[in-house]
């Protein structure tokens, strides 16, 4: 097996395949798959569901529907809020054998800094010593399913720069900016985030979409619009990674429709350093590990090192 380890800022990942935020409740998988899923997580780094400052109920049902080659969701960032996250989730996250990338979502710059500051304080207190090799932060500035903040921040280079810079000023560990594809020029957002101190970019969040209820002929989702994911969006997502790789120097976590080994290979070829599995996790909870093993076999078969695959789509030959 070739060396599949990659670096994202100060984090070292055993292999390049992680989960997209909001698609895996690792601790609840124990009930189905047993404790091995915690002892030896299927992901190289675990990204929990986006944490918000206050408790949120999320959007009204229905929240999901399968679409051609994928699915649409409007979950709406439900969660217990920062305080409960720190009390209940953080201790068991710190006990995991893989790094953790905590995703935060806010509705203003102040909320993002309160979230990052609160987490840093909790980690300084409880993680013991230097935790920056174990815990990273993802600023989700791209959720399409909440009415203010978040994606509207990630849709504007100036606001992106302000939020990322403000979080950077107080967060010492890995800082990832998760980008929305629902913009005219994603490279402008990516450049703003990188220039403001993001160590890595995650590309991309879901594509804003809409489905119609075939009985009522009205929008099906409780939130009216939702985010499209799954294999249907893969070429769209690949394009964003390809463009960002040419525009910025920081590593990219590629995501959007990853379901097969070939998808992982394609994202890395376009320039991704790591790859996240999102909604395909819903049909196979341990897909990330299976894909990393498949990637190893692919590289062996081609006689390639992982680093030799990265960005190959950009070289003309």
């Amino acid at each position: 097996m070739p060396d599949l380890s990659v670096r994202l800022g100060p984090l070292r990942l055993e292999h390049p395949v992680i989960n997209a935020s909001g698609t895996m409740e690792l601790f609840e998988l124990v009930e189905v798959l047993g404790s091995s899923v915690i002892d030896d997580p299927p992901v190289a780094a675990y990204v929990p569901k986006t944490v918000t400052l206050e408790r949120r109920a999320g959007n009204p049902a229905p929240r999901i529907l399968e679409t051609t080659g994928g699915m649409i969701n409007a979950i709406g960032l439900p969660g217990p809020g920062l305080r409960a996250f720190i009390e209940r989730e953080l201790p068991r996250l710190l006990a995991l054998s893989c790094p953790v990338i905590i995703s935060i979502g806010g509705f203003s710059r102040r909320e993002y800094t309160a979230l990052a500051g609160g987490l840093k304080e909790a980690l300084d207190r409880s993680a013991g010593g230097d935790w920056t090799g174990r815990v990273g932060l993802e600023v989700n500035i791209s959720c399409p399913n909440v009415c203010s903040g978040c994606a509207s921040i990630g849709g504007d280079p100036g606001e992106t720069a302000e939020v990322v810079a403000a979080v950077r000023a107080l967060w010492p560990g890995l800082l990832v900016a998760k980008l929305t594809p629902n913009v005219t020029d994603i490279t402008a957002i990516g450049r703003a985030a990188a220039a403001s101190g993001a160590d890595a970019l995650a590309a991309v969040n879901t594509f804003k979409g809409l489905v119609i209820d075939r009985e009522t002929l009205k929008p099906y989702l409780g939130n009216v619009t939702g985010g499209l994911s799954g294999p249907a969006i893969k070429p769209l997502a690949l394009r964003t990674v390809y463009e960002l790789f040419a525009a910025v120097d920081v590593p990219i976590i590629g995501m959007g429709g990853v379901a097969t080994v070939q998808d992982v290979v394609d994202f890395i070829s376009c320039g991704a350093t790591a790859v996240a599995v999102g909604s395909a996790t819903f049909r196979e909870p341990c897909l990330a590990r299976a894909l990393s093993e498949g990637l190893g076999r692919f590289l062996d078969g081609r006689g390639l090192a992982l680093g030799g695959l990265r960005g190959t789509a950009h070289t003309r030959e």
């Binding site: 189905v32 049902a61 929240r63 399968e66 080659g69 097969t260 070939q262 996790t281 049909r283 299976a290």
Partner: protein, 310 residues
């Protein structure tokens, strides 16, 4: 001009379906099962799948099924209808693309199975009530009940041979211990009652008093009536009720049950699911206390008072 979509497009070169995770992958948590029997039951299909490593289900638990290969992205959540070792049965109504695909499977075909999942019926709580166990199902809602009936039989047999546990009860004089009330749109839909009828026969053969009644909404086999009409006629104080059916039926059943004292109810709820394991937060249900429950993880079986309040 010939277009060559299979060149350059890796997706086209491998296969265009999006069902399985790809050939040769290792370390998966789903099992690739094989269809060992298909029964045509009116408008539904009974699918028996041999699932390597199947752990055994509690009645009311479900599994995620996806044909291999499949044109669908996600698996479909289906109640475990019966099981014998690694042979697991499902009753499937062909209502959409995923279920139609599953209903078209034949012996030897492959199907991905993840499960058993969710929280099922509390069999002990059902059998230790002062009166009968009443099962109420509407249409495809019959699915979990062959397994529940076979588990009830095991419980009652354990009690009658002097088994331990709080389950010892005096037989209800003159009436059944288990009453099964099924409601169907029409005769074609009622074909799926067969596995329940067989489970009821087996109980009777083993000396357990069990009665089955069916209602037809189209009046094709008797009066125009619903399962709730049957329940209204038969329900009595002390009964313990297990329910599965469409949302409107469940609400109507609750109305009947709340009017009778000392009746406890459990409802197996249906909803669209994506992950089936609590990860996606897609299948939420607003409970009576205002909190959100994930049907897949916190259910699919809920106590009636949790869902509908007091």
């Amino acid at each position: 001009m010939t277009s060559r979509p299979d060149r350059g497009s890796s997706a086209g070169r491998r296969r265009t379906v999006t069902g399985g995770p790809g050939p040769g992958l290792t370390g998966l948590s789903r099992s690739l099962g094989r269809v060992t029997a298909v029964r045509f039951l009116g408008s539904m299909v009974g699918l028996t799948v041999t699932v390597p490593g199947w752990r055994g289900a509690v009645p009311g638990q479900f599994a995620l099924l996806q044909a291999e290969p499949s044109r669908c992205f996600l698996a479909r959540a289906l109640s475990v209808s019966d099981e014998a070792g690694e042979k697991v049965s499902f009753l499937i109504a062909p209502v959409g693309d995923g279920t139609r695909e599953l209903c078209a499977l034949r012996g030897g075909d492959r199907v991905w199975v993840l499960g058993p999942l969710g929280k099922g019926f509390d069999v002990d709580a059902l059998v230790t009530g002062p009166e009968r166990v009443v099962i109420v199902a509407g249409g495809a809602g019959v699915a979990p009940f062959p397994l529940l009936l076979s588990r009830l039989l095991v419980k009652y047999q354990a009690v009658s041979v002097g088994g331990t546990g709080g389950g010892r009860r005096t037989p209800v004089a003159g009436g059944p211990k288990v009453l099964v009330l099924l409601g169907f749109r029409d005769g074609a839909q009622s074909g799926c009652a067969l596995p329940v009828q067989q489970a009821v026969s087996e109980m009777e053969e083993k000396g357990l008093r069990c009665r089955l009644e069916m209602a037809f909404e189209d009046g094709s086999r008797g009066p125009v009536e619903k399962a709730t009409d049957l329940l209204d006629r038969h329900l009595r104080s002390g009964d313990r009720v297990a329910v599965c059916g469409p949302g409107a039926m469940a609400a109507a059943v609750w109305k009947v049950c709340r009017a009778v004292p000392d009746v406890e109810t459990w409802f197996s709820l249906e909803t669209n699911m994506a992950c089936g394991v609590g990860s996606c937060h897609g299948c939420v249900l607003k409970l009576a206390d205002g909190s959100d429950a994930r049907v897949c993880h916190d259910g699919p079986v809920f106590a009636g008072k949790e869902v509908f309040g007091a």
